[in-house]
């Protein structure tokens, strides 16, 4: 209360008459509090006891049951098991269990859910091996695009032309995509950055913020049901 007064001249020299606040002449002002209030202040009054009865009991049972069932439901996302102290030999054989935790465990109504939330099921590692042989070619391709924009333009034209010519190239495209996917390591994020790098220096850089999700989604579909145009 004496916040400003204190600054000027101690407690006694208040800038106003304490009588106006209801302090009589003889009464001393309360001493300043220097400590934070206690975390558990003593209770002056005991809390009122809770309501009891059939309704309350039933509600309680409902609540506990609901809580229990939610824990078992697929909506309860358990954090993926963190890496333990050391790598164990048996870990290798528990891979299946981990893979299970990857998917949602339930199917949302994709008509109303945003498509970008779709989780790509990771392909087993075998696939990667089978694709590997032609991997180096794409890498060269990608690099070529990056280093020389003219070359990239030419390539784009080429692709456009071939696309017009016929659908023969579709398979190739698909393969390319597959390779790219394999190239991008387990980390999806890294893939995003790769995409950005390719786009760097073109007019599309402004929209770099499109995190490429849609592209990948289309990609996904292409793998499963053939390309979508």
């Amino acid at each position: 209360m004496a916040g400003r007064g204190r600054g000027r001249g101690g407690h006694r020299g208040l800038s106003f008459d304490p009588g106006a606040l209801g302090f009589g002449r003889g009464e001393g002002l309360p001493p300043p509090t220097l400590q934070p209030p206690p975390i558990y202040p003593p209770l002056e009054f005991k809390p009122v006891s809770l309501q009891e009865g059939e309704e309350a009991d039933y509600l309680l049972a409902l609540k506990q049951e609901f809580r229990g069932s939610m824990r078992e439901s697929p909506y309860f996302i358990k954090p993926q098991s963190t890496k333990r102290d050391i790598e164990r030999y048996s870990d290798k054989y528990q891979l299946n269990g981990q893979n299970k935790g990857q998917g949602l465990g339930w199917t949302p109504n994709w008509n109303t859910f945003p498509k970008e939330l779709r989780i790509r099921e990771k392909k087993p590692k075998r696939l990667k091996v089978s694709v590997k042989p032609s991997l180096s070619v794409t890498k060269v391709k990608a690099k070529g695009q990056k280093s020389d924009s003219k070359e990239a333009e030419n390539k784009l034209k080429q692709i456009l032309q071939t696309e017009e010519d016929g659908d023969d190239d579709e398979d190739e495209d698909e393969e390319e995509k597959k390779k790219k996917e394999a190239e991008g390591e387990e980390e999806e994020e890294e893939e995003f950055y790769d995409d950005e790098d390719i786009e760097e220096g073109t007019d599309y850089a402004l929209s770099y913020f499109d995190n490429g999700e849609d592209y990948l989604d289309a990609d996904d579909d292409a793998l499963e049901d053939g390309p979508v145009y």
Binding site: V48, Q51, A56, L60, L62, K63, I77, P108, P114, L206
Partner: protein
């Protein structure tokens, strides 16, 4: 109520512009000052999400609640979670209708969490119980299923519920048709509603939806027993969802025929007959029911059963003309009320008139007289009713926390609006020194506000009136904030108790499992008692204590929620009348 949060969404759009320029160096998180209320809301929401859907959802939810709307990528960066985990969490939140998403100007989806919908989690048992009292076990199971799954197809829910009931009743199978009927009743009374379509709807998608809505109606038509109900079912279904698009029954039927032959209609109709039409709980309707119930029971205890029934009838009459949760109803004549009184009440017209006058003259002002025509026009003022209830519960809070003398001062201030300290001392009939102390205590706890009215422009304390008063809006807000904090504390205490005794609980579970398996294999009593003795008496004592404590904590959560509900429903309407 989420004022602080709204500020958040506003400034995050600014953040995006900045983000565009700064590229990907870091996510620009706008510095927001959440007010205390929003802070405790976020904390409580986080705790609830953690218990309901796990830690990952909690992280995502708390991040969005505290910071506003973000895109998928920013959420992943901001929460330091893997992309897949964030996706899963977002899916869960959308599924449970706690989240909205919208395309921003760049065409990227931004996700916004509705923290108030997250907080409804504490009320889930009440919704279920309410459905039980209104629609029996079938209603209970329906609402429970919908709450635990967020949104579901009607066919899905009905199948699951009938399975569950058959299981629970053992042998006695319940017809799925009966479940469907209850479902339709719930839809008719608007306790269930369709899931709103995403905002990015294109024109042709709308067509698809109306198409599906028609399909839904046709689904109601399939069971032959429903034929009698058809006339009743049809109009409500079209108005049940929030996305009511048909202009009327006629226009709808005309539109139905040509379209059902178009290729569009067959598109989404592969397995389930009602594919694509998802339902979820209409929280607003439940809240309206709770509100009415609270007001009615208060009237019942304040005046009598007849007054309560009259107001109930008025509510029923006004149901058709008033939007849900409106502060006041349309005026209705006493004649109208008389016509729709339940016959078993046995009230004659004169007594009704007397009751209405009594109610209109009551200081709670729940019933107001609006005119003389038609034997007197009356309005129900639900906001006033809520205010009365709120006042009563705040008074009891003061009474229980500060004692009856403080409560006397508080009620005095409520009655007289503004009083000087001297007047308080005199009128409360408490010795001056004690009264002063109590008043200051209330003041320092924010139950009482003070208004300075200087006689001279220099604001000299000696020439200033200090008027004490009560700002109901502010006190309710403060109490609501405290309730959220208390709820958070209760939950975290419960969690603490559980983790403290985890070993013991796990042990008892294991012993139970062993004894159960022994029992089924037909072991003798000595073996059984041996197993039972694996838990020592002190351990058993501790287990019992734990169970008792947890029950008490959860019971408190449930009852605290009643206060929260009252304050939450009073607050939005009270902002208009902040004068105290």
């Amino acid at each position: 109520m989420a004022k602080g949060l709204q500020v958040g969404t506003g400034s995050s759009t600014v953040a995006y512009e900045n983000l565009g320029r700064r590229r990907k160096q870091f996510v620009y998180v706008p510095v927001l000052r959440l007010n205390s209320m929003a802070q405790s809301q976020v904390r409580l929401g986080g705790l609830l999400l953690q218990h309901q859907y796990g830690e990952i959802v909690e992280n995502v939810g708390a991040f969005l609640a505290a910071k506003g709307s973000f895109t998928l990528k920013d959420i992943a960066e901001g929460t330091k979670l893997g992309m897949n985990e964030v996706k899963k969490a977002l899916c869960v939140l959308i599924q449970h209708n706690m989240m909205d998403f919208e395309r921003n100007r760049r065409g990227i989806l931004e996700y916004t969490i509705h923290i108030n919908k997250v907080l409804f989690v504490t009320r889930y048992p009440r919704y279920i119980y309410c459905a039980k009292t209104l629609y029996g076990d079938v209603g209970e199971f329906l609402v429970e299923e919908l709450l635990s799954h967020g949104q579901m197809l009607m066919s899905q829910v009905c199948r699951r519920v009938s399975e569950r009931i058959t299981q629970a009743l053992e042998g006695q199978s319940v017809d799925e048709l009966k479940v469907r009927k209850t479902f339709v009743e719930l839809v008719e009374t608007h306790f269930l509603q369709r899931v709103a379509a995403p905002p990015s709807d294109s024109a042709d998608k709308e067509d698809e939806e109306t198409e599906l809505q028609i399909k839904e109606k046709e689904m109601f038509l399939i069971p032959p027993a429903m034929d009698i109900d058809y006339g009743k079912v049809n109009p409500t279904v079209s108005s049940s969802g929030k996305r009511k698009r048909e202009d009327g029954e006629e226009g709808d039927k005309v539109a139905k025929r040509p379209r059902s032959t178009s290729p569009l209609s067959d598109e989404k109709n592969e397995d389930a007959p009602d594919k694509g039409v998802y339902w979820h709980i209409n929280f607003t309707r439940f809240h309206q029911f709770f509100r009415d119930q609270a007001v009615l029971s208060a009237l019942n205890s304040k005046i009598d059963r007849y007054a309560c029934e009259i107001v109930r009838t008025m509510l029923r009459v006004s149901e058709k003309t008033t939007v849900p949760l409106a502060p006041t109803t349309h005026p209705m004549s006493s004649h109208e009320i008389f016509q729709s009184l339940p016959p078993e009440l046995d009230l004659n017209r004169q007594t009704l008139g007397e009751y209405l006058t009594l109610l209109a003259e009551d200081k709670t002002e729940i019933v107001n007289k609006a005119g003389e025509s038609g034997g007197g026009m009356y309005i129900l003022n639900m906001q006033k009713a809520l205010e009365t209830l709120c006042k009563a519960s705040i008074e009891s809070v003061v009474q229980e926390r500060f004692g009856s003398k403080c409560s006397r001062i508080f009620r005095l201030l409520l009655m007289k609006r503004h009083l000087e300290q001297k007047q308080v001392e005199d009128m409360a009939m408490i010795p001056a020194k004690e009264a002063k102390e109590l008043l200051y205590k209330l003041f320092s706890e924010n139950f009482v506000t003070m208004q300075e009215i200087p006689k001279t422009p220099d604001h000299a304390p000696s020439r200033t009136f200090y008027l004490f008063g009560i700002n109901m809006h502010q006190v309710s807000r403060m109490l609501l904030d405290r309730c959220y904090k208390a709820m958070g504390n209760l939950i975290s205490r419960r969690e603490h108790e559980n983790t403290e005794n985890r070993r013991l609980v796990e042990k008892s579970q294991r012993v139970d499992a062993i004894s159960a398996s022994l029992q089924s294999s037909g072991a003798d009593t000595t073996q059984m008692s041996e197993v039972e003795e694996m838990i020592t008496p002190p351990e058993r004592q501790q287990l019992n204590k734990l169970k008792h404590d947890i029950n008490k904590l959860e019971q408190s959560e449930l009852q605290l929620d009643e206060t929260i509900f009252l304050l939450e429903s009073y607050l939005p309407g009270s902002e208009a009348m902040v004068l105290y």
